[in-house]
């Protein structure tokens, strides 16, 4: 794989994570437990959508095959998506969504924090803007994990169930492979080695869970495959909804 196609692939991984999670969070609009949370989740979703747009646009530019953000978002099938399985899993109840937000925002925060010093100027700039947004996403999820974990018996039970639901998808976030190895090697790396994010992520999430009176689930079998395009059935359904309008009316605008 040339360095150019490696960069395209890497930008797609980051961009697809953001795009798919934005779509999942958007499902909460008008269904959140409170109007205020409704707006909060829409804000987080829109932040992620903005990141996805910048990253997919850049992937298309580097690829140089004339594909823009819309072509990449709306005209790829699930096998061509490179997001981690975590973000495509169904939202579940508010506790499942909160658990995923904590896991993912804490991961994304460590990632962008390091990607700011990428040798690739565009990725560095996108990360520099996104890290502030993600800092808030992480804080918002933290506040809810603390309240649900340390709340009533029922909220504690649900928060634990939420963690159990998302935990099988955690390991995949930190998987290094040939691509990340190649792009994160040398003195001026383009990418961040996902494996090096695990410890700081663990430190943050572990402290939040401890304060909330929750234990991280142990001994869960890890599920992976998203980075290779091997997705769960859930992504197909999500994409059907995401892509339907654009595919029915190509080039539609308003």
């Amino acid at each position: 794989m040339s360095e150019q196609s490696q960069l395209v692939e890497y930008a797609l991984r980051l961009g697809d994570d953001a795009l798919v999670l934005a779509q999942r969070l958007g499902e909460w609009v008008a269904r959140a437990p409170e109007l205020e949370e409704d707006v909060a989740m829409a804000n987080v979703a829109l932040d992620l959508l903005g990141q996805a747009r910048a990253l997919l646009t850049y992937a298309g530019e580097v690829e140089g095959a004339g594909r823009d953000e819309d072509a990449l978002a709306y005209w790829r099938d699930d096998r061509d998506f490179r997001n981690a399985l975590l973000v495509e899993a169904p939202g579940g109840d508010f506790a499942v969504t909160t658990a995923r937000q904590l896991v993912f925002a804490a991961y994304q925060y460590e990632l962008y924090e390091r990607l700011r010093s990428s040798a690739d100027q565009t990725l560095a700039a996108i990360a520099g803007k996104a890290v502030k947004e993600v800092h808030y996403h992480r804080d918002h999820a933290t506040q809810w994990v603390l309240r649900l974990g340390d709340g009533t018996e029922e909220s504690h039970r649900r928060m634990r169930a939420g963690l159990d639901t998302v935990w099988p998808y955690v390991d995949e976030l930190f998987d290094a492979d040939d691509l990340t190895a190649a792009l994160s090697a040398g003195t001026a790396p383009i990418a961040v080695d996902p494996a090096e994010l695990r410890d700081p992520w663990q430190a943050y999430v572990g402290a939040v869970l401890a304060e909330a009176g929750l234990e991280p689930p142990d001994d869960v079998p890890a599920r992976r495959g998203g980075r290779q395009g091997l997705h769960t059935e859930h992504l197909g359904h999500l994409l059907a909804e995401l892509q339907h309008l654009h595919r029915s009316h190509p080039g539609a605008t308003w």
């Binding site: 109007l35 205020e36 707006v39 808030y136 918002h140 309240r147």
Partner: protein
Amino acid sequence: MSAEWPLWEVFVRARRGLSHVHVGSLHAPDAEMALRNARDVYTRRNEGVSIWVVPSERITASSPEEKDAFFDPAADKVYRHPTFYEVPAEVKHL
């Protein structure tokens, strides 16, 4: 759930040097979340640099029935307004 979440009044300072201005209210389980909800609901279009949240129940308001006794006596005390001074034209920001 709304019935259980208390109401908060939100005050936003738009810029440094201005006062906090009441912008509305919202429901939140506690002060920390109220601050975050206020950020999400009232400052998402770059409206502020500082937010206060105050429990609505802690605000004591004048009542409409007291309006006459409260405010009418001030209306005819023209001498309370500094309208009898000649303001020199050079003084701009009085």
